[in-house]
Subunit: 243 residues, 6 copies
């Protein structure tokens, strides 16, 4: 492993990492992080409506979704796109699958992790993924799991923005300015050809979050300018040397 | 106003700032902040049991409490201790009192503020103070309040640790390492002669929070050492350039 | 499938649909809906105490419970009673079981669905059933699940009334007037010979909910009369053209 | 009073009714409602930064804000704009002020009411207004308040969309399609010359809420088209004859 | 003051103590407690609809309500009915009023207190009363309030059952068997001639709570019999010597 | 089974019962209870860092942990220590494992049960254990599970104190005075040689809880003395004959 700082995104379906934290990925890549993205599935069954309407087969859908994810990852500067290909709707991991995820976490040794909201009645794959992320984080910290391997520290788990945030009980406590990498996030979103209707939707999300960034950095009294933003909810407390 | 960074503590009673954020005060003073402490009351009626048992008069109780607060403030390196002397149990502010607090906020222009938990069924003065702190923060941001004055930006409001945290619904999201200034916090606590039983109590609080600091900075895998800590809950989201 | 409007009840045990939404079933049947009831189990192990005390065998208990459920369903005007016979205490669905439920959802194409509260520390089968209902709803919406089948839209999921509502964190947002079909609900309840003690209990529930109906439709100022009611909590937001 | 249906908006500051429920107002006006808007203040001190920066006096600011509110109200088809002129930042109502609001509620006899979220740490005037709205609703229902007057029934209180919804704990349960009156809402927003930066912000809000409307009316399986929407949270349960 | 154990009910309106904790009052009177009831108002404006419809004057309404409350108190065995006559809808206490309540609390030195739920959007007097009860409890504990008086210990504050419990966020944690005094509660309810519609309503409440008592004392496996019950929510933790 | 009162602790890992409810165990043993402790795992993988660092094998770690647990149980006066040896990090129970736990519950027929908090993002084994405890409690109550066996009544489930209580959403409602058995709890903790750093931590926890015990039994007005305490959160309501 290199000396570079690292981050790990755990995404239920192939496109989630683009809509929900593409800016964070591109920004941290630009800051020198090696960002790894784990796609637990391609979203082939549940998030590829257009392809199914076109009559594609399962293998074709998966291949197209993988291709889109790879292109988006390349645009964002992802260091490693890791496709687990576990199936979706519903996504289910057995013990061995979980340990594969633990292996990845240990390999990456992320400074922070990113995953879904803890509640999502529209999409149970999303909340299941976060449950698994917490479980895998715990196992990765265990000295008795594959003794001799470097165990995980205590990385923050940021929950990225779900669709219809209020229905998910998601409350962002951290706004990130992604203006400098906005063109990359937009370009990555445009790799997702099956979900064109979401390009403008998530562009507006970024603009609203930029407004919130400004509000919380000064408001009418000189809030810092920000054109595009992303919001995150922290699961764990921070440790600081200055408030 | 100087160019130094500033912080403002809004404390319902004279001793709250010592037990609940004395470490944060001393640490930021050491970091070069001018820390202002606003004591809305001396806690003369409700938090001076020992003095009343000794038969002191109201004026005597207030004088003693003021003296203790001043000594503690000096030990912690408080730049300005501002006693509003508004009475306690119950504490009540009228419109003019609120505007005095707004004046102070504007004068200080704090980078961040500190106050009580938002709920406290044991001590309604505490939750009332936070309600007033939010109201005063809002007024201080209004361009139409004393037009021409410098309006307030959007400082974080940290809620410091209440007694019996779980009963107050208080959840810390930020742990601060106060090891380097612990001797000052302990010395400041020892200025509070009427509440000797709390010296050891809040020493243990600081030790437990240090443990939580370690847990969240690495746990069994090399958490950063920390002997004494304080915990805080943020009301507003943060704005950052790196997660 | 007919052109009639449809609804689907997902009930953990055989009698739940009677106590908790028998009025809604009878009312919508009267309004021209085809109402399908899915009983995931007969409640044979956990909700048939009287039969076990009488020394019945498992098969006998199941047969009796099925018979009661069928009689109650007939009284209520259920279009299709679908017994999955998956066992109870605890109820557990594997992937294939879930897909059988998805098949039923797709076949029914319900305008709305009904199931249990999301939390129930007394009866984990109940909350498990709602978890599965949400998961199956999601799968039924997936274009890649059995491609070519008609996918599900976005039906509301109403959570019907649990026992000891406050312990379950259940909060009704919708009160339904079931006065016109009350005799049917009462008759259906009386089909449940093993739970006679609940007949009066759920009659009182209906009377209390009628009072709440009145309160929320006018109170002391001409609330609409209502003798029997049922309450429901919505999981998803409504879409309307008039408030 | 006419036989027309009625609605009442209770707005802390002059512009809130435009951004937060302008669509609902215009839509219900078009549906034949008489919509009354109560502005408790002009937002003269706290929400008129641009005017203060230009050096306007308090009276000038109030006159300009009143003028803007009247223009916006006219565009939206408001039947009666009622300016209480009670001052803002902080807004405070004494007993007599509350009774003036009760008088208005009784005069209007609204089928439903609209006001702010119940929590808002950024803007305590907002949450205070909702507290007062609930208190005034209760008094308006009292047979002993001005005996002989027609008492209030039990109108729903919808909480319209606050800024930074997640921070306010606001969760919409009702999405309203305002596409047919969007041009009016936009025109009304453009009457607010001091807050030009919010025109695009609230246009995007309407577009996002339209997306949510679609999702909840069918999603990928034929959700009803909607270009602009507004979201609302209900305080009280609904009473219905069909789910 | 006698050596008898004591309890204090703080009731917003004259009849609340009857519907909501009449059983607890009668039971503890029978157990040898001196139970004091503080009625902050007669509920003359807001909870006497029938009397107003009959054309009574304010003084007549108050006299009738006082008479009913006194009769009910006598039936229940209340040791002292204390009518503050502070007016209702809305109920408002100034500093002096609060201190009168503090005086009463100190005089009674209750082993436990009873008041309303902490949230009630239908009836803001109710939640206001609980806020005042907590504030007065705090002042009564202050050694500096009327020094020399016996200060209050730390009595539990039980929140009695509101109407429409789920809407108030009220969750009972304690069920009390009131079977032995049910005839007294029923007789006390029948003193409330203006609210006849509530006699049966609160009889059913008592029957439902008896069912919950049984469930939580054994369920199908020999729950203790109970015909009538009342439920309460505790604000403060208990201190025990055995779980 | 004897006539003695019984209690059952369900502990995810071997040491949890010591830190979290060792005082309750020793106290109830002293009161004449037969206290059974079910350790679902030894915590061998996840909570034995020191042993792994020393190079122990899995079998050695388990043997050492078992030995420590047995010693601690003996010190505390545990009647039966039941090691399920199901593995940890993650802990997983299949249907048969759950039924073994049900068998134990039925054998013990506990007056009350003890387990972990319902939420724990740091340690998913903990919250999983409580989920299983509730499921097993439900099955143990079912007349159709192993018909003929004595079914379970409705024992309270107390949630003992987790690490970092506020992060777990754990709120104690019951404080137990464990002063009389403190020496046993301390001695039992000192059996846990791999977690020496926790001895002082949980000693301080006991001292803080003693302070809370005092506060809630009288505060400045004669709170009962208490040197060491433990806190618990109740899942179910209590049934009482006196408040």
């Amino acid at each position: 492993m290199s000396d570079r700082k690292t981050a790990l995104v755990i995404s239920a379906h192939a496109a989630d990492f683009v809509w929900r934290c593409g800016g964070a990925i591109a920004l941290h890549a630009a800051l020198g992080y090696d960002v790894t993205v784990a796609c637990l599935s391609f979203g082939e069954r549940g998030e590829s409506a257009r392809l199914w309407k076109e009559g594609k087969s399962l293998d074709e859908v998966k291949a197209i979704r993988r291709d889109e994810a790879e292109k988006a990852a390349a645009v964002l500067g992802v260091a490693d796109l890791h496709c687990f290909d576990l199936g979706d709707y519903p996504l289910e991991l057995d013990r061995e699958d979980k340990f594969r995820l633990v292996d990845l976490i240990r390999k990456v040794q992320p400074k922070f992790m990113l995953s879904h909201s803890q509640y999502d009645p529209y999409n149970t794959d999303h909340m299941y993924t976060t449950r698994i992320a917490l479980e895998a984080r715990m196992v990765a910290q265990a000295w008795g799991h594959n003794p001799g391997e470097k165990v995980l520290g205590a990385p923050q788990l940021y929950l990225f923005e779900p669709h219809q945030t209020e229905q998910m009980g998601w409350k962002p406590d951290t706004f990130l300015d992604i203006t400098s990498v906005w063109d990359k996030k937009r370009a990555a979103m445009e790799c997702m050809n099956g979900q064109v209707h979401l390009w403008e939707y998530y562009t507006r999300v970024a603009q609203q979050r930029a407004n919130h960034f400004k509000r919380n950095s000064g408001g009418m009294s000189g809030g810092r300018d920000c054109q595009y933003g992303e919001g995150f909810q922290s699961v764990f407390p921070r440790t600081v040397d200055e408030l």
